[in-house]
């Protein structure tokens, strides 16, 4: 079924159409969230929040724009929220001098989950650079499309992407050299 038909069905209040949207976009959304958050449970939480928000705000979606980009924009915001929560928890732990991360009331237990990005090389990238690279590599997005998701100018998206690619290349080369030497 066509994307526009699904959205129109959802707007008419037909729950099965919304479920079809979730089924269609849950895998790419989960992959993107995993690539940003590095944790399956956090990614699932972010995706749940994403689809609930999509359901509640579908009326404000502009049909002339890409639905996937709109979806990714919301997901990106939700993921940033998760990263912020994580950072706050880490700061709190640092202040308290404890070794275990306390659960925050807003998101109980999430901070205790092990965080592991798909590749260690991605740790060297900032969240924006990581998502720009992910959208470019996985989805084939252009700088303009990335800018729509990140809500920045195309030039800024281009700079994020360039820096991410440069850092990754450098790290790949260093890894290659160290393997050769080792």
């Amino acid at each position: 079924m066509d994307e526009q038909e699904l959205i129109a069905g959802c707007l008419q209040g037909r729950a099965e159409y919304f479920r079809m949207i979730v089924e269609r976009y849950s895998a790419p959304a989960m992959a993107l969230a995993m690539n940003i958050l590095g944790n399956h449970n956090d990614a699932e939480d972010a995706c749940q929040e994403l689809f609930i928000q999509v359901f509640r705000n579908l009326k404000s979606y502009d049909m002339n724009k890409s639905f996937k980009n709109w979806l990714y924009t919301i997901l990106y915001r939700r993921c940033l929220d998760h990263l912020r929560r994580r950072r706050r928890s880490a700061e709190l732990v640092k202040k308290m001098g404890q070794e275990t991360v306390p659960a925050t009331p807003a998101n109980p237990g999430s901070s205790e989950r092990p965080r592991r990005l798909p590749s260690d090389l991605l740790e060297s990238l900032k969240a924006r650079e990581r998502i720009a690279l992910c959208l470019w590599a996985n989805e084939g997005f252009s700088a303009r499309e990335i800018s729509e998701v990140l809500r920045c100018s195309a030039g800024t998206a281009r700079v994020y992407l360039f820096q991410a690619r440069k850092k990754i290349k450098k790290l790949l080369e260093q890894g290659h050299v160290s393997l050769q030497n080792g």
């Binding site: 895998a27 959304a29 992959a31 609930i52 928000q53 919301i74 470019w136 084939g140 809500r151 290349k169």
Partner: protein, 160 residues
């Protein structure tokens, strides 16, 4: 090659995004040497999780269903499409107001002369020289200031 180094130098020298974007568009995107220093799409893709390998499963839908059913809970924060531009407008307004205040302040103060000038001109009228007297006679006075101190000691003795 030398041009690539120059571009790289200026890229690092000026950390402004519009400038960097210009360098990327004008040189880096079309330069094979510079492109060789960037990770390719394939290399980058190998670092990320692909959608085919992710299982969202039933738990995701269950969570969404329960989230939507839970109307009593806190409403989820909505995204505001106008927020970034509204914020930008507010920033511009604050910047413009500051500029206006600075310009007005400058215009008001540019002809202002500090009071020190009038005090200086009035100083001769206010200055008065008097003898230090002891028993009605000019005294033998010594002014003493210890080194490195602001304290001044005036010693007045009877003139014999």
């Amino acid at each position: 090659m030398s041009r690539c180094k120059t571009v790289s130098f200026f890229y690092a020298l000026i950390p402004l995004r519009p400038w960097r974007d210009l360098l990327i568009r004008r040189h880096i995107e079309g330069c094979p040497h510079c492109q060789a220093g960037l990770a390719s799409r394939g290399e980058s893709r190998s670092l990320f999780v692909q959608e085919g390998t992710v299982s969202s499963g039933r738990t995701l839908w269950t969570g969404i269903e329960s989230g939507l059913a839970d109307e009593a809970g806190e409403p989820i924060k909505t995204i505001s499409r106008q927020a970034p531009s509204a914020l930008r407008r507010r920033r511009w307004a604050v910047a413009a107001a500051l500029l206006l205040v600075l310009a007005t302040g400058y215009w008001l103060l540019k002809d202002y002369q500090p009071e020190a000038v009038s005090v200086a001109s009035a100083a001769p009228a206010r200055f008065e020289l008097e003898y230090v007297r002891v028993d009605g006679q000019p005294a033998n006075a010594v002014i003493y200031q210890p080194q490195g101190s602001d304290m001044i000691i005036i010693w007045a003795g009877k003139n014999r």
